[in-house]
Amino acid sequence: MKREEFLVRSGLQVETLEVWLEQRWLLPAAGDVESGYSEIDIARAHFIRDLQGNLGVNDPGIDVILHLVDQLHGMRRAFAELKQSQAKPGDE
């Protein structure tokens, strides 16, 4: 989706988006006018808003949390792939 639609759906202000992009908290696909932003960026933006809002996390804390959460998801994906390869040992 385009930047405008992303702003509407994520509820972010342009200025906030600029800051988050600078912090590299959001990484939309570069150079793509039609589909630079996707659902994962919206979900991640909501997560960051929750962290900043109700969870009262400051900016350096958000860096740490995002880094750890992304590693956790990397782990989960690796586990899922391992599980799959165990389930179908013959398939390659």
């Binding site: 990484l27 939309p28 696909a29 570069a30 150079g31 793509d32 006018v33 039609e34 589909s35 630079g36 996707s38 659902e39 994962i40 919206i42 979900a43 991640r44 909501h46 997560f47 929750d50 109700n54 969870l55 009262g56 949390i65 995002l66 880094h67 959460v69 992304d70 590693q71 956790l72 998801h73 990397g74 782990m75 989960r76 994906r77 690796a78 899922a80 792939e81 391992l82 390869s85």
Partner: protein, 298 residues
């Protein structure tokens, strides 16, 4: 839904500050994105959020305490969390750092991890979609266009002759770069053909309307007519009429078999803008003109 005070674990006499603190404590524990593998966390989180919607708002809390509203009616719309996407393949936030050390071993586990990481590392780049507007003439004759990309780069696009509105051109390898040994994605360019007031396209054929003078209609003559590849001279037969269709062979759109469609020229007689006294005098004494009724065979 349970009693909101029980959900937040506070007594009905708790202060606003106590309620807010209890809520924050629970959110930290239950936020679905901080519990990626716990399916129940989302339901608990929603329950807590619903309870806080009610008790965190002084007016709603007063009305709830007074029995004016119940604990329902604060249902939140379905939200997709980051965790719903983040464990999926191929996104910019993926991070394998947490198990990088496990991949160094020579056991089966390390081998499996390495193989799946390699598959991800050598992924083909994304296809990128663009739009390009071209003129009608360019769509028939073909053209070379340069597309300016949002990041400031450019992309040279060869428009093949005969392209139709909405057609998508694929430029292999001009999309996002792949990672590792993965090939680059493709650029997909949807071409919009801007309408031209002179031409209309019907399949491989093109039609135009060409104004001619009364003199040219009656006596015939040679007139210039536009085609997508430039003007040509056309012979108007004498006795031509409004609606007479002439064919310019091979002046239409290119066909797949290498041939071309035709251009059809529909003539339209146009009288001088300012009425001409000689013409008026002639028509006045033109008997055959008076008895001719162009509507009678309708």
């Amino acid at each position: 839904m349970a009693n909101p005070y029980d959900v937040l674990g506070v007594s009905p006499s708790a202060s606003d500050g106590d309620i807010r603190n209890a809520y924050r404590r629970l959110v930290k524990k239950l936020h679905p994105d901080l519990n990626p593998g716990d399916k129940a966390a989302e339901d608990k989180f929603k329950e807590v959020a619903g309870a806080y919607d009610l008790l965190g708002d002084a007016d709603k809390r007063r009305r709830f305490d007074a029995g004016e509203i119940d604990e329902t009616g604060t249902e939140r719309p379905q939200q997709r969390y980051y965790r719903d996407y983040a464990s999926g393949p191929g996104h910019a936030y993926a991070d394998d750092g947490a198990f990088a050390d496990y991949m160094d071993g020579d056991d089966v586990f390390a081998e499996l991890l390495r193989r799946s990481q390699q598959a991800r590392a050598n992924r083909r780049g994304q296809d990128l979609r663009y739009r390009l507007a071209i003129t009608f003439v360019e769509s028939i004759a073909g053209a070379n266009k340069r597309l300016t990309l949002p990041d400031g780069g450019t992309l040279d696009v060869t428009i093949p002759p005969g392209l139709i509105d909405g057609q998508v051109l694929r430029l292999r390898g001009k999309g996002a770069p792949g990672s590792g040994t993965g090939s680059a994605g493709d650029a997909l360019i949807e071409v919009e053909v801007l309408p031209d007031p002179r031409f209309e396209r019907d399949g491989d054929d093109i039609s135009i309307e060409l104004p001619i003078s009364l003199t040219e209609a009656v006596r015939g003559g040679r007139v210039r007519a536009p085609t997508p590849t430039g003007e040509v001279t056309l012979t108007v037969p004498n006795g031509a009429n409004t609606g007479t269709r002439l064919r310019l062979k091979g002046k239409g759109a290119p066909r797949r078999d290498g041939g071309h469609g035709d251009e059809y020229v529909k003539l339209k007689i146009v009288l001088p803008r300012v009425p001409d006294p000689d013409l008026e005098a002639f028509v006045e004494r033109w008997e055959a003109g008076k008895s001719f009724n162009p509507r009678e065979d309708r």
